[in-house]
Structure formats: C-alpha cells, structure tokens
Amino acid sequence: MKKIRVIFIFVVLLSLQFMNAYGVQRFPKPDFESGYLQPETLQPSARAGLLAIMDVSVLALALALVSWLVLKKRSRTGVFWTSVFSLAYFGFYRQGCVCSIGAIQNVTLALFDKSYVIPLAVLAFFILPLVFTLFFGRTFCAGVCPFGAMQDLVSFRPQKPDPRLNAVLGMMPYIYLGLAVLYAATGSDFIICRYDPFVGIFRFNASFGMLIFSGTLLVSGIFIARPYCRYLCPYGVLLNWASRFSWRHLTITPDKCIQCRLCEESCPYDAIDIPVVDLNPEGRSVTARKLILVSLLVPFFIVLGGWTGSRLHETLAGVNGKVRLAKILLEPERYRDQPEPFEVTAYKSSGKPLTVVYDEAAGVLRRFYTGGWLLGCFIGLVFGMILAGRLLTRYSTDYTPNKGACFSCARCVDYCPVEKNGTKEVKP
C-alpha cells in the first residue's frame, strides 16, 4: 500500500512537467495577422509597502529560526528545511530581489549619491544578516540565503578542495566586492545583479550565457560545495569579517571534545580548524622573520595595488554609460558604418549639450581614478593580510569551526557523538 502511494506521488511529480507545458500553451503567442499591438512598456511598480514589511519580517524570522536551530537545537535537518523554504520564498517567490548580496550596492550608492534614497527594506536586507552574524555566526548563509540553499541542494559529492585552489580562488570575493563597490559608488552599474548567476533561474528568464554560468556553478557545486559562496560572494566577505567577532558561534561539540576525529571530514567547506598542538617545524624565528617581511611589504602591496588600479581607471570606467557615450561621440568615424548605438539615439533625444556629456564623462573618469586607487589599495591590503594570516597560527587542542569561513550549516553537529551531558548515539 505504501509502495503504491509512493509510486502515485512520483507519477504526479513527473506529470507536473507536462502540466506546465500545457499551462504555457494556453496563452497563444502574438499573432501578426490578428492586429496584435505591442503592449506599452511600463516601469514595474515598487513593491507594496506591506509586502516589503512582510519580506523583512520573513527574513528576520528565518534568521532567528536558523540561529535557534543551529545554536540551540543543533539540528541540521531543521536548517536544511529552512533553507528549502528560503529558496522557495526569497528565490522563486521573491525572484531573488532584493537580496542581501545585491544590497551592498544600494548601500554604497546611498553613501556616495545623496540623491539616491535607499528603501528601508533594502537597508534591512543588508543589515539584518550582518547583525545576526555578529551575534550568532553566518546563520544567514546556513539557511536563509537562497543562493546558498540552491548550491547546498546539489552538493551531493563534496570533496575537500585542494589548498592551492583555495589559495588561488580565495582572493576572488575581495576583488569582486571591491569592483561592486567601485561601480556602485560611481553610479555605473550594479554588477552583482548583472552577473547574478541564479536570478535567471529564479525568474525563468536567464540569458543563454548566464544559464551556462549558473549551470557550470551548479554542476561544479556537486563536487565543490557552494562554489559561489566560497569563491565569489562579495557579501560573504562582510559576513566572514563579522562572524570572526560573533558573540556565540556554532560549536561542533556541545561539550568537551573527545578527539574522536569523526567530524574531521564532515565539513564540505573545509571550515573546521583541526587541532594544532605541535610547534611549527620551521621554527619560531623563521616564521617571525617572514611575518616581519610580509608586514613591511604590506604598504608596498597597497601602493602597488593603488597605482595599478589608478592606471586601469579608464578601462574600469568603460562600464559607465556616460563614459561609453562620450567615447562613441568622440569617435563617430568608428561607428559610421554601423547602426547608430542606442546610447547615441537616447542622447540625441535628450538634447543635452555635448559639453555636458564630455564634462560628465570627465567627472566620472576622475571618480574612477580615485576609485581605482582605493580599489587597488584594498586588494593590496587584502593580499598582504591574507599572506600575513597564513603566518599566524592559533594553537588549539580541539576541532573547532573556523568562525570566519564556517557557514553554520550544522553538518558537523550530526557527526559529533558528544551530547551536553554524555554521549549520544550517532544515527546512520
């Protein structure tokens, strides 16, 4: 009887695909014979205030729930199902917008452009996960972020990544964060949104290129758990920093670690710090010398990065619409045999004087020059700090989550045989 029920459920699930096809066909495509008129393009209306409050409330509740599940209940299953809910709500229902990751750009723009008023809901999406992280670790990543949830779902055969891969790709989120802030601060573009790999899936409208990108991420996510979160997510950088100072953080064991090593391979994100008891074989003085050298080199990295960033400012500014338009207007002969670029068409209809276009573009370039310096300095600093961080060792006797890197997913909890007041049975 039970078997029949299960078969029935799956027949229904499979038939869903065809129902969906039927659903699309019910609405005929525009027919050129029927006098079909193109609908007027309208600006989508802002999300109703009440719904925005609901979104923020759901976010806060989800964060609270996951934090409770992680810290109190220590339930991986609970976290998993909350993440499924988050994927459904923030991903498919809310279509991935507003998301906390993209909110970085809104906040940046609001800081640099006084005419931009940031919606409170967006601000809440930016701040709430950070606040919760400061208190409870990255519980947002664990079960609230739809991006993380989607990648978590497909993480079937996670492998421990090679330390070389971690080293090479570990810089990427910082560079991405720097670029996102630069482009948002200059009012050029919201690149996090433009290159959001999952929003096209949430909205069923991904471009072919983005589909390939997101497909690659998801397929690689089968073997390398959460590749976007670890090697791209710019918000993860902020959460990583905040989580290092978290008031209470997930612990692998609720009590004293018994050094059973069961949890050693449990983390697909390589976020468990193994006990380090032995002294560094290369000797303290050698390490100290290296540390001093790196510390002395950090200012050099900063200046070099800044100089390089400033040299690349025109290349970076190519993304900006005003600069792009000015370039086209400066070199009309290049576009003579091509259809008129749409920027030029729009500009013509604006009737704006050329001087203003050039002045604006020159102003943007100057901002990019400053921004290029700052971006380069930031990357140089990050590089120096990461290198220095690899020279510092925190000796410990227990297996502990790395507070910065740990997503608080609570996988490791299931592996720990220790209970608060004794030993629990590890369920298969």
Partner: protein, 595 residues
C-alpha cells in the same frame, strides 16, 4: 525484514526516477543548446530567398502576386522564429522541473543512505604541510596578480581623459548639442552657465575663454562658433520698436555698417565706417550708452583711399569677434585691429587691400587665442590665424578658391574641432590649431555669400544659382543630398539635427528634413530677408529687411510664435543675451527685453 525490503524498493524507485529525470534533463539541455544556436543563426527577414524576391519586386513593383508571396514568406519566417524561441523557453521549463525531480530523489536517497561517520584512517592531516602549500599558492596568486597588474598598468594608454578634458574646453558654443534636433534645448547653456556643470572649464587657460564663457556670450557672427545657435533661454518674443514696448534702450550708431553686434558680458561691440572714417564702438548692454569708441586709423599700410565696395556690403560688413580679453575688428580696406576691453589699442595691422569687388565681408572668429580670418580674394585666397595677443601670424593656409563673402564657422564634430569654410568651388575643413586641411568637397559655385550651417556631423552649404548641399563630414566627406529649388545668396542656413532652415533674400523660408532633404514646409514672406536666422530657446528668429522679426517654432510644421516689429529696417543678424536681443537697425542699435 519486510521493512528492509520496502526500503530497498523505495530507494530503487527513487534511483530510477532520478536517473530518468537526469537523462531527460541532459537531453533537454542538448536540445536547448541546439535550438539556441539555430535561433542565433536565423535571420528570418534576410534569407536569400526573401532577398531575391524583394529584388524581383523592386524590378517589378506592380506585381501584387509577388508582393503577396513575400508577405506570406515573411509571416512564415516570423512564425518559425518565434516558435523556435518558444521551444527554447519551454525546454527551459522542462529542464528545470526534471532537474528538480532528480534533486528531490537524490536528496531523499542521501538522507536515507547517510553513511555512518567514520574517523579518517591513518595519520592526521599534516596541518603545517597544508599551511605551507596554501601560503605558497597565496603568494603565487599575489605575484600573478601583481605581474598582471603591472603589465596592464604599464600597457594601458590613458587617452580618454586627455581627450575628454580638451573636448569639453574646445566645445565653445557651436554645436552645443550633438543633435540640436530638439531645438528646445538650445537654451540649455543658460542653465549650464549658472549651474554646476563645469568640469573641464575648471582648468581654463589664462589666454582664452572657457567653453562656459563662450556659451554664456555671443562673441561672433551668428553666435558661439558661428552656427546660428544662441544658447539662451527666456528670449523675448514680443516687442514694438515704434511704441518702445519691451525696448530697453535704443541708441543711434554714429557710423553706418552692416556688421552685426556681438556681446561679451555687459558690453556690446560693433563697427561703423564711412569712406573716410572707421570706428569701433562699445555699448553698455544695460543702458545703451556708448562706453567708448575707437577710431581705426594710423595703421601702417592702410591704403590711402577706401576701396570701392557694393553699397549692400559697405566698408565694414565683417562682424567683430572677442575672446573676452580683447575685441577684434576688420574693415573692407584690410585694416585689422585688436583693442582691449576698455578700448585701448593692443595691436593693429593692415592685411593688404583685398581684391574683392563687392567689398570684404567675412567675419572673424576665435579659436582659443587665435584670431581666424578668411581672406578669400581674387587670385590669393587664404585662411590665417593670428595670435590674439600679438597679432603675429600663427599659421596661414592658401586656398585655391574664388572670392568668398561667407564667414568661417568652428564646430566640434565630437572627436575634434573643425574650421569650416565655403567658397567657390568647395566646402573645406581645417584644423583650427594648425590650419591643415582635413577634408574638402566641391559642391558649390558662384559668388558665395551664405556661410555654412552645421549639425550632427552634416555641413550645409548653399548659394544662389548653385545648389543647396548636405555634406556628411569625414575623410572623404559624403554628399547626403542636394536641392536647387530654394537658394540663398545672403542669409546663411541654420541647421539642427533634425531640421535645416533656409531663408532667402527674396523672403522665402524653407524647412527641410536635415538628413533626407525633404521639405517640411515653405513659407513666403513679402519682405526680403538678409539677416541670418538664429535658433534660440526652440524658436527660429528670422529678421526681415523691414525690421519685422518672424519668430517660428523650430518644428516640422510651420507655427508662428510672434511677428514683432523693430520700427526700423535691418539687414544685420541679431545677437542674443540672456533674456535680451540686440539688433542693429539701419540707424540705431536696439536692445529688446522685458524691463
């Protein structure tokens, strides 16, 4: 035992469903990619068959059957195209749901088949070794980034900034909009003047005015750069010269002249001359009082006798120019003088009596601190640039042209500044910085009086008994269209991105589509028009010889805004200040504006 069997059965079922869904997803994936490539390759409206049919139809326009066949084929192609797109979209849905099912099944299996945690066999992870590898690779990554950055940083040419800053500076007033088709925007510079727009202007070179200053004034014939566009707002549309309604002041000009006034800040400049006397006047824009006048005499090389000139040209037809540091004037006898803003002579010279049977009339224009003079005379045409500060020749370019009475204009083409001149037989462009010829096109003939118009990369030249030509600039330039129905011999044409306005000396005004040359409207006035039309605040100001200002909307339909009268005849082109118009009548200088 029974339970275990059931469990195993469930897992098998889930595994099978997951497998089927995954295979189905892969098939869908392949199909979507193939379909996508098909869509990308397809250009349904430009198939060879379609092109062949269209060509056949062009050869036989009356073939209705062929026309119908093209329509059917077109519809079929569109349907096929959209169907393919629909298939891609549908495939996307199917792919998503099949993947979803596969994921659900696999998750179920993962939960059911969770392995019992096991302690790793063998030695613990070698922390220090891993740490060293990681640290080394962090360093390698850093070095890689540094090398890449150094290479990029060194190889990057910072050109755009260098080009943008001067472009902003050089813009001047002319061509203030890349496409002045939206004529209402001609007044934007007023906003810019008072606004915070200046970026490039912040680094003004001491020797010449900024674009902002140039736009804010009316420093040469037909406004900034000489293209007939006054970047002003609140321009008056109603006045009555006889009744002194909206006439702020009226001052008699001591000596006659057909040159037009120019304006710099609160001063108006013009010249007057008779056969024996030549004078430069400076009027107060606010009161109309003559602040100073300067007699132009005792210049070395001045011919003892004034040249014989046509009475419609006079001894001082060329309009003055200024860079805000000095004012410059030229007369029919070749006298050229630079005065400071207080009327003191800076330098003066005679360029030699021009061999010009009607009298020299080309107006002056400034490029940076260079005074540019078109000196096309019989057998020795040239264009030259003199240092505004010293009068020394900066460059001089000979021109193989006949005498011209037109004036040079300075335009910014978007990529560079061009000095455009017209004379029988050609329209030619020069680099105003060094006088090198950039391009030329033979498209005009006769005794050329009207200067060229320019907008949106197209130059318009016209002359009576010749033709009206629209030339797209470039090397080589391209003739866009030409017409010879309405031609002008005195007023210069006025171009916006969309329209070309042509006034003729017999009183007809025509509005053309600037790109195609089709006429939007033609209106005949009873009175001749000698003054060149000026575009200001979205309106075209056409002053006829009787002093009636015909103000029409710069639009493709003829719409009169007003027809106020000066109360005195005029052949001079008006000058515009903010909220004011200065018009030189036959005898007096008028300032129009609301009191």
């Amino acid at each position: 035992m029974m339970k275990n069997n059931h469990d195993t059965g469930h897992r098998g079922l889930f595994r099978t469903v997951a497998l089927i869904s995954a295979v189905f997803a892969m098939v869908m994936c392949v199909l979507i990619v193939v379909n996508y490539i098909q869509v990308k390759r397809t250009d349904p409206l430009n198939t060879p068959v379609m092109k062949a049919l269209v060509e056949r139809l062009q050869g036989n326009p009356g073939d209705d059957q062929l026309r119908q066949q093209i329509r059917e084929l077109d519809l079929l192609a569109r349907k096929a195209f959209f169907t393919t797109q629909w298939q891609v979209r549908m495939g996307g849905y199917l792919l998503f749901f099949s993947l979803l099912i596969a994921v659900i099944c696999l998750k179920y299996l993962e939960m059911r088949e969770k392995p019992v945690p096991e302690a790793p066999q063998g030695e613990k992870t070698d922390f220090w070794n891993d740490r060293n590898i990681n640290r080394s690779w962090v360093a390698y990554t850093g070095i890689g980034i540094v090398v890449l950055a150094l290479v990029l940083g060194t190889l990057t040419h910072l050109e755009l900034g260098k080009r943008l800053e001067p472009a902003g500076l050089l813009m001047g007033g002319n061509n203030a909009t890349f496409n002045a088709g939206n004529a209402n925007n001609a007044g934007n510079a007023d906003n810019a003047d008072s606004g915070k727009r200046r970026v490039a202007v912040a680094v003004v070179t001491e020797g010449y005015p900024s674009a902002q200053e140039i736009n804010a004034n009316f420093a040469s014939f037909r406004g900034p750069g000489g293209d007939g566009i006054a970047l002003k707002q609140n321009t008056p549309t109603s006045w009555d010269g006889k009744g002194m309604k909206n006439i702020l002041w009226k001052t008699e000009v001591p000596l006659p002249g057909f040159n037009s006034p120019i304006i710099w800040n609160d001063r108006v400049f013009l010249t007057g001359a008779s056969e024996t006397t030549r004078e430069v006047y400076c009027f107060d824009l606010n009161s109309g009082k003559i602040i100073w006048k300067f007699p132009v005499d005792k210049i070395q090389g001045t011919p003892a006798k004034a040249p014989v000139v046509n009475k419609e040209t006079g001894q001082c037809a060329p309009t003055m120019t200024t860079d805000g540091r000095r004012v410059y004037a030229i007369f029919a006898n070749g006298d050229l003088i630079a005065l400071d803003m207080d009327g003191k002579k800076v330098w003066a010279k005679n360029l030699g009596l021009p061999a010009n049977h009607y009298g020299h009339s080309s107006s002056l224009v400034m490029y940076h601190d260079l005074l540019i003079i078109q000196y096309d005379q019989r057998g020795a045409g040239c264009v030259m640039a003199l240092s505004g500060k010293t009068g020394e020749v900066a460059w001089k370019t000979s021109r193989n042209v006949r005498i011209s009475w037109a004036s040079p204009i300075l335009v910014n083409t978007g990529s560079r500044m061009e000095l455009i001149l017209v004379a029988d037989p050609l329209v030619a462009s020069y680099n105003p910085a060094d006088g090198k010829e950039l391009w030329k096109m033979e498209c005009i003939s006769g005794e050329v009086g009207p200067s060229v118009a320019y907008a949106d990369g197209v130059v318009f030249s016209v002359n009576d008994y010749a033709k009206l030509a629209a030339v797209e600039i470039g090397d080589p330039p391209k003739l866009l269209w030409e017409d010879n129905e309405y031609l002008s011999d005195i007023p210069s044409p006025l171009a916006t991105g969309k329209y070309l306005f042509l006034a003729t000396s017999y009183g007809t005004v025509v509005c053309y589509d600037a790109r195609k040359g089709t006429k939007y409207w033609v209106h005949e006035y009873d009175t001749p028009i000698y003054a060149s039309p000026i575009l200001a605040n979205g309106k075209v100001y056409l002053l006829d010889k009787k002093g009636v200002m015909h103000i029409v909307k710069a639009d493709q339909t003829y719409a009169v805004v007003g027809e106020p009268q000066l109360g005195e005849g005029s052949v001079c082109t008006p000058a515009f200040a903010s909220g004011r118009i200065v018009i030189r009548g036959d005898k007096s200088l008028f300032c129009i504006g609301k009191p």
